[in-house]
Symmetry: C2
Subunit: 200 residues, 2 copies
């Protein structure tokens, strides 16, 4: 067996090239040739790692999805140290990808999102990602705001975070404004249910 290369690490290398390209020019700007160039390998290598372009995109999508999910989970495990409410705020901020250094990641995510609406294979992956996020959020909400309906509040928070991400990407909101909105919302949630019964 000659020339054994670590396929998995190469796949990650290529996935990162995909992400950088998608962040710059959207998913339509992702070409096998450009990916190969950007990753510093030849087209043949890309073709050996992924039988087809769709397979490559699916891998890249899981790659970024996992990274975001991982960060949220990391936030969760060190949440006991903080109040559940602030943990919720941090998690939402994380999901909203508001920090400047995650802007590229957010662009990639939106590009995949738009494609996932019309491509069922991507849709499945995206849904799975959101399902896990949702579970985590429900848990956090139940802990932080025992009075409210956790399912609904979690859905609202997740949707709000995503909407804010999009609005920041578009340039309709600044990152600071979005953070302010998110912070205000979480504070309101905490206030509403610490006051007693569920809202509505």
């Amino acid at each position: 067996m000659p020339r054994q290369v670590d396929h998995e690490s190469r796949r990650r290398l290529i996935a990162e090239a995909v992400c950088r390209l998608a962040g710059e020019g959207g998913l339509e700007g992702v070409t096998l040739r450009d990916v190969a160039t950007r990753a510093g390998v030849s087209m043949g290598a890309v073709q050996r790692c992924f039988r087809t372009k769709e397979e490559m995109l699916l891998f890249a999508l899981r790659y970024v999805g996992d990274r975001v999910g991982e960060r949220v989970r990391a936030n969760l495990v060190r949440s006991p140290a903080q109040s559940a409410a602030t943990a919720l705020g941090h998690a939402a901020t994380e999901v909203a990808l508001l920090r400047e250094e995650h802007r590229a990641e957010a662009r990639v995510w939106l590009a995949f999102l738009a494609q996932a609406v019309v491509a069922e294979s991507l849709g499945r992956v995206v849904r799975a990602g959101y399902a896990e996020l949702s579970r985590n959020f429900v848990r956090l909400v139940a802990e932080a705001a025992p009075g409210a309906d956790p399912e609904r509040e979690a859905r609202a928070l997740l949707a709000l975070a995503d909407g804010l991400t999009v609005h920041v990407l578009i340039g309709h909101l600044t990152s600071g404004e979005a953070q302010d909105v998110l912070h205000g919302y979480v504070a309101g949630l905490w206030e509403r249910c610490s006051a007693g019964g569920d809202a509505r």
Copy 2:
């Protein structure tokens, strides 16, 4: 001057073909040839109406943006008859494009949105649309919830509506769940500020 055709109506005809195609296969599935076929004209006619593809997409984007904005505005003018809070709910529901018959429009909008992040020309149009929506929402919030910070609440509501739209399109939420979240949020907003001061 021979064979005078109504260019404007033909442009709208083509824009609708663009929307139908974008709703089915995303913006990448929009081809000049397919557009011409779908609109029932020849490629030459499309090229006479729009010098370039980008020009065509821009027109189509404004076309759907105007339609949504128009519906929101129509909701606004007949709002005096209803409470400002329910008017706000209706407007948000309208923006979220939750009704089944607007699902296609929502897909088109998301397709444009994703492209607008990386194409400045589309971005300007999208931002302009959101700016107008935002103004209307601020007015409604100020009327419905005098206690709260209208700017921030309007931003939150708009982002929430958009986020819900995306989650419904992806299949993470059903239309009913989204409507429930939206309704709950508006109710909470009303409750929070009718109780007195702004939240936080």
